[in-house]
Symmetry: C2
Subunit: 161 residues, 2 copies
């Protein structure tokens, strides 16, 4: 698996990955009904660096990295990761997260923060914990899950270096 900067020509493959996740409305605080144009513009834009994970010619995952805040908060980055459903369970997210941690440090970031990890997304929580992220906050009923209703969300964080 090779992880590289996304190009404009990766747009269709990225959409194939991110649209089902957005439509499901279970893990990202994005409008499940957002347009394809809006979805791609959210994932790839001037404020983010976007990467893809490629196996041969197949794009199996994608992630972005951006400063989580401006000014005095600009040394903390934020990332989002999505794996193609058909490639789930093969460590794609872990490899992308490892890549993002190295990339973040190389860009001078000092910490990485996930602002809203949906409490029912246990697989992601276990993965981030195993990669050194601590749960530094719990937001009561901060996410309305399409299936489970209002559920807590976690703030997860790790220093880099």
């Amino acid at each position: 698996m090779q992880i590289r900067k996304a190009q404009a020509s990766d747009g269709p493959a990225i959409l194939e990955i991110i649209l089902p996740v957005i439509r499901e409305g279970a893990t990202y605080s994005l409008d499940p009904n957002m347009s394809e144009v809006a979805a791609l513009a959210y994932w790839m834009n001037a404020e983010k660096d976007t990467f893809v994970a490629a196996e041969n010619d197949d794009i199996v995952g994608t992630y972005f990295i951006r400063p989580n805040q401006g000014g005095g908060g600009g040394h903390v980055c934020n990332c989002g990761y999505m794996t193609r459903a058909s490639a789930a369970g093969r460590g794609v997210a872990r490899k992308m997260c490892e890549h993002s941690l190295v990339h973040a440090a190389s860009r001078g970031y000092r910490a990485m923060q996930f602002n809203l990890v949906v409490g029912t997304n246990e697989r992601a929580i276990r993965l981030w914990q195993s990669m050194g992220f601590a749960t530094v906050g719990r937001l009561p009923e901060a996410f309305k899950h399409r299936e489970f209703g209002y559920v807590d969300a976690l703030v997860m964080y790790r220093l880099l270096a």
Copy 2:
């Protein structure tokens, strides 16, 4: 003191309030050197409702309210408050926060979240605590203070209703 929706003609007074706070770089994660145009565009834009607190003809404070996240996170709002330096210590921020809590509930929000309360901003932390906000998270070294260097930041939160 009357709190009302900000109008475009309030722009100069709002800038008089927010620019010194932004330039100080001690409480908001905004670029201290941002332009006046960028500062006003941050405070008043299509994604936010912006209010001013007026005493007679003087604008003594301003705040905004917006959804903190999209999609399943859209029922949690976020606010920013700034008081004119010459009006400090007179409860302007408290009155604006009270107004925002009522306004938020009337708009159907279920919770209010402050994403990054700088740990050295003890006055604000005490105020939010007294208004029912809990510290639900602590972000290690998440803010680079112009005077104190890297300091922790708090995530503060309260349910409405």
